[in-house]
Symmetry: C2
Subunit: 381 residues, 2 copies
């Protein structure tokens, strides 16, 4: 029986992905909402999906990663103003994991940026209206840019067998892509961008559909090519991304945080030759040092369920911070996650308590992240 959409929507306010019908047909069991769109988050048990991702190949509908497209003669100068990354060092055909920063250094979003041309950029967004931010900034910026949302909808192909599926679909050129490189291609005339990116910590690719009318066709084409490799549609795996130390905007970082608090220091190109929004604030924060940090945490005791609220963290019965994400890793056989804490509690080995709703206080320890050695595939450039 298809999922009862009235459980998550009322009227036609929320948008559907070009793959929506396919996700229904393949039995999506839950949808959340992300960038004003319905987002299929699981097709089976999350742990079953995790093992399939780790050992096989999975297909995720991440059309909710809406794109902001920036074009026009000053697109490079403008886009370069939005992020601490130095985009003059991003080649055409290359992507970057970036943060979009507010004037106070707060993190507005953490998209994957693709440079499609000298003055042609896409930002594949986390869940905030960067379209409105960018258009607001552009108003008085005195730069000649056009900012809009193109008809572009990504899928993720993730897992060790993703390579074989990509080879079957796009040949060796796609297979040879380096991290954060992409190519513009087509499949049966369906216009696509294929990137070597992902949100899984496994080998992975994203396939950006450039014609929303052909979503169903692309989905079936990929499922067909992946059949021999046991491909399955799943939701994104929070178990796997937490193992890999990957953050989820809105949960692990928000507008209230800056890169130094959440360990994304490497997204600031210190020597950047031009100004950007938030530069003064970030330079000040770096000099002064941060008062809190997102730390890795291991929670003792039996298997926990994925947190759906922030859990209070205590030191000697005093509330000191919050767990932002925590989940059981079946591979590590441990409860792992992140906590935002005053810096003095983030030293490795620090013993703390975590209050789990309706389940009492658990002992917890500060540990290093990532939790799984990332050397085989790091999901960041």
């Amino acid at each position: 029986m298809p999922f009862d959409m009235t459980l998550v929507q009322r009227g036609a306010r929320l948008r559907r992905s070009p793959f929506f019908a396919a996700t229904q047909r393949y039995g999506a069991k839950a949808y959340t909402v992300y960038n004003h769109m319905l987002f299929p988050i699981c097709f089976a048990d999350p742990e079953e999906e995790y093992w399939h991702l780790v050992n096989g190949v999975t297909l995720w509908d991440v059309s909710v990663e809406r794109q902001v497209e920036i074009t026009g003669p000053d697109a490079l100068a403008f886009t370069n103003m939005l992020t601490p990354r130095d985009l003059t060092r991003c080649a055409v055909g290359q992507g970057k994991y970036v943060v979009i920063t507010a004037d106070d250094g707060g993190i507005i979003n953490d998209p994957v940026l693709l440079r499609l041309g000298e003055n042609h950029f896409w930002l594949a967004l986390a869940d905030s209206d960067v379209l409105l931010w960018a258009r607001g900034v552009a108003l008085n910026a005195g730069l000649r840019v056009t900012i809009g949302e193109p008809d572009v909808s990504p899928l993720q192909l993730q897992g060790p067998k993703a390579k074989e599926v990509v080879r079957a679909l796009f040949g060796d050129a796609a297979l040879e892509l380096h991290y954060y490189r992409f190519l513009e291609t087509a499949l049966d005339g369906i216009p696509l961008v294929v990137t070597r990116t992902g949100w899984s910590g496994e080998v992975g690719y994203e396939v950006y559909l450039r014609d929303g009318s052909r979503g169903d066709e692309l989905w079936e084409r990929i499922m067909e090519a992946g059949k021999v490799h046991g491909i399955r549609p799943t939701g994104p795996s929070d178990i796997r991304r937490i193992e890999a130390g990957i953050l989820n905007w809105g949960a692990d970082m928000t507008l209230e945080n800056n890169v130094y608090e959440v360990g994304l220091d490497y997204l600031v190109d210190e020597g950047k030759g031009s100004d950007y929004i938030g530069r003064a604030a970030l330079e000040r924060i770096k000099t002064e040092g941060v008062a809190r940090k997102l730390a890795g945490i291991e929670i003792a005791g039996e298997r926990i369920e994925f947190n759906s609220t922030r859990w209070p963290v205590k030191a000697d019965d005093t509330l000191v911070g919050e767990v932002t994400s925590a989940i059981y890793s079946p591979r590590l056989k441990k409860n792992i996650g992140y906590a935002m804490l005053p810096i003095e509690y983030t030293r490795l080995g620090t013993a703390l308590g975590v209050d789990i709703p309706d389940a009492g206080t658990r002992r917890a320890t500060i540990v290093a992240k990532p939790f799984v050695d990332p050397n085989k595939d790091i999901p960041k450039t």
Copy 2:
């Protein structure tokens, strides 16, 4: 059994309202997501909730109407720049239904604005990140403003018996409020703003909680006061709001539309003495006239279910537009709604066809809106 939240959320990304525990306790049956927050949309059958709204009094958790707060010495000048309404004509203690416009005249949001002081404004938002828009605009505006999201969470008290509940809670001062007027008050020390506003077409009030830690207490206090009047928690009623001709941002209007297309012309104060974002575009659009308009539509045949996608509208088998909202009114015993159509198809009485998914084509007719005489209570200033 409480609603299984894993059907709509994954992790702690989505925020919860101060009334979340109460909505769970009172048996919310579905939640959507709005402004990055969980939004309870029904507690019983929507038709049952409709009759209760029309004949009694209902309590809705609309904390998802997040506020953008604008303060600082230039707050009036800045806020006045965001909307075609002339805010110099909005007194302290008064509210206005406004549109926030983009430079091309597109509708970014349609909040209720409250003026709490000479230079102190709240915008109670529909589902888009006006916080980011306003902060982006402010960057180079050269005005001294502070823009943030305060700890403010509205509830709606709607229905003919709302007056009695408000009298019991806040006395005659609240009862005597004119449309779009408000008062700052407290209940057992809980700081509140009470406004004479709503999204129902019925007599109604909103109670803005100013201390999120006291949500449960406020909820129970209101339920207790409403007990004798048969108060019930419900979701917002789309049946009633469509009867009243009220629009839902994201469904009936988006960034792609302007006020002239959706019949919100009265939200432009033509004689406004200062410039605002989108003015030139709106003046041009008004002079040139619009090519499409949102029209009232009546759909023939048996009772329809509330549309969850936009339905194609045809004239002689040619696709000409889309139904944005359509629902069965049990009071009118008709299927009513809105359709965005080329202006030549919006004349009253025009005969069209509507394609309903899995239910074939129905005859439809252009009719006047609102569908129910609004004289008893118009939900707009």
